[in-house]
């Protein structure tokens, strides 16, 4: 409602203005028009002439800004080219007008005046358009910096403080002989460290990505009850050699969306359910297989998430020709097969 009203007022204003000018034009023409009433064609061509002139003027100014102003005026060392061009254009326009008036000397001052008006319009248009463009860019830039600063601020809950605090809590849990809690804090710290730090880099070691998934699964597992109806297995193998961890690098956080997905849709507390994850690196090839159950009731939720499409997109970008992703499902199970040549 609030945005509609000003627009309506604007439309009314424009209509009123054009109507007023039209009426003015018409009333001035009324007398000759009445005399030459059958000659409507002349009126039409007269109006067309005016509209055509305005459109032509605007077009010249527009093209001048796009082609000449943007090319030369933005840098001081090329600015003279622009002014040379403006002079040439002025000369051309003047000669064109001269041609139209058949170079009669009495019309020279009139032609000069018209050329001048045109020039002022074209040059003015250039400056105004440029001002609008820079202002728009500035606004966008400001918005972007604000966003970037916000994200940076959010990420900067001083990591030193965070992990030292976690370490203190870890110590307290151990002192109280509460090993499960201590372990959980250890895992949580690992997860946070990875997402805050490693994952912000373009690539990370395969080892740390797999360790991240292990911690994630461990944390998820504690949240689930111990039950014979529930099975979560995870096997990872980075394929490294003794004393030298696997030197292979990969884009971070590529695998976790599929694991998250399995936990979101594969686990039910009422029905028998399972998740089996196997991630292996052999040579330069990473292979991941995730199979999970599709317990009734949770199946309808499927498709609402954006995790898998996003993951697919990131895979496309990071390993365009070097990966294959197969997702298949039956009524009872859901399987993801991913292979990446790192």
């Amino acid at each position: 409602m609030n945005t509609q009203l000003p627009r309506l007022v604007l439309a009314l204003t424009i209509v009123a203005l054009l109507g007023y000018w039209g009426w003015r034009l018409f009333s001035g023409m009324e007398q000759p028009l009445r005399e030459a009433l059958p000659d409507l064609g002349a009126l039409a061509s007269y109006l067309f002439g005016i509209v055509g002139l305005l459109v032509g003027l605007w077009l010249i100014a527009f093209l001048n800004h796009r082609l000449a102003f943007m090319r030369w005026m933005l840098r001081p060392e090329t600015a003279p080219f622009y002014w040379i061009w403006v002079c040439v254009m002025a000369w051309l326009v003047f000669e064109l007008l001269q041609l139209r008036t058949e170079a009669v000397p009495e019309f020279v001052d009139e032609n000069l005046l018209v050329t001048g008006v045109l020039l002022v319009f074209v040059i003015g248009y250039g400056y105004v358009a440029d001002y609008l463009r820079t202002r728009r860019d500035q606004l966008r830039l400001m918005q972007q910096t604000t966003e970037a600063e916000l994200t940076a601020l959010r990420a900067q809950v001083n990591p030193h403080f965070l992990f030292n605090a976690l370490n203190t809590i870890y110590n307290e849990a151990q002192r109280a002989h509460n090993d499960p809690v201590a372990d959980l804090i250890g895992q949580l710290s690992g997860l946070m460290r990875y997402t805050l730090q490693e994952a912000t880099r373009p690539t990370t070691s395969v080892e740390s990505e797999l360790a991240f998934i292990e911690k994630y699964v461990a944390l998820q597992r504690v949240r689930l009850p111990e039950s014979a109806k529930l099975r979560v297995t995870l096997r990872t193998d980075s394929g490294g050699q003794p004393g030298e961890p696997n030197p292979l690098q990969m884009a971070p956080l590529l695998l976790i969306p599929f694991v998250e997905n399995a936990f979101q849709y594969g686990i039910s507390l009422e029905h028998t359910s399972y998740i089996d994850i196997n991630i292996e690196v052999e040579g330069r090839q990473l292979q991941m297989q995730i199979t999970n159950s599709r317990p009734p009731g949770l199946g309808q939720k499927h498709g609402a998430g954006t995790g898998i499409p996003n993951a697919r997109q990131r895979l496309e970008r990071a390993y365009p020709a070097w990966h294959s992703l197969q997702i298949s499902h039956t009524d009872k199970s859901f399987t993801v097969n991913l292979r990446i040549d790192l």
Partner: protein, 226 residues
């Protein structure tokens, strides 16, 4: 026995290390320090094999301290709450790099690595300690023929005995020093010296035949030639 000290400005961090050190039979944490000044004097007067060193400390940073004591040739293990990647290059000269909160298996790995290096430096054959049930078993690495993994159990095969321990193969890979061992299969690590025969898809270690996976073949050949 490894003699160690720990330096950290936070008492809580030192408590964790002390508690862990008590659990490791071959490690003795002789002293802990909350400032580098006292540690420096101690280092000059006592036998120390291993220094656990925090990086962010108010007076003198861990890295500066490490530079200062570099001539003493102690094994340094950095402990830090937050990894700083500018440090990575420097940390390579250190024995290890532990991120807080430090978990025990990771701590044990570091100690084993330090132990293997120290025993090797003293002219003894290098060895590590693993836990077999409630017992700590010393494994002389030169006696090991191969190591086999079976889900969460590892079987360490020596000439005359077999040791089983609750460990993943990834943990073992991180514990073993480089050079002496090579991985030849998803579940097998063999001692390079113990290999008797290499065939296309298998190799013989001692009297046992072990599968050789295609993806590990290249590494094995490189190790044997280089």
């Amino acid at each position: 026995m490894l003699h160690a000290i720990a330096i950290d400005d936070e008492p809580a961090a030192l408590e964790v290390l002390s508690r862990y050190a008590e659990k490791v039979p071959f490690l003795q944490l002789d002293q802990t320090f909350t400032s580098t000044t006292n540690a420096l004097t101690y280092l000059h007067q006592h036998r120390v094999d291993l220094v656990f060193l925090d990086i962010q400390m108010p007076d003198l940073s861990g890295t500066d301290f490490a530079r200062l004591v570099a001539p003493l040739q102690k094994q340094i293990v950095f402990t830090t709450a937050h990894a700083d990647y500018a440090l990575e290059g420097f940390a390579l000269q250190a024995l290890d790099y532990l991120l807080k909160p430090i978990e025990f298996p990771r701590f044990l790995q570091t100690c084993n690595r330090a132990y293997a290096q120290t025993t090797a430096r003293l002219g003894q054959s290098s060895s590590i300690f693993v836990k077999d049930g409630y017992d700590w078993v010393r494994v002389d690495l030169s006696e090991v023929l191969f190591i086999q993994s079976d889900t969460n159990l590892l079987f360490i095969q020596e000439q005359t005995r077999q040791v089983s321990t609750r460990m993943t193969i990834a943990e073992m890979l991180a514990t073993l020093p480089s050079g002496q061992f090579v991985r030849v299969h998803k579940s097998y690590i063999v001692s390079l010296r113990a290999i008797r025969k290499i065939e296309r898809h298998q190799l013989t270690v001692g009297t046992v035949t072990i599968p050789l996976a295609g993806s590990y073949r290249e590494v094995l050949e490189q190790r044997l030639l280089g």
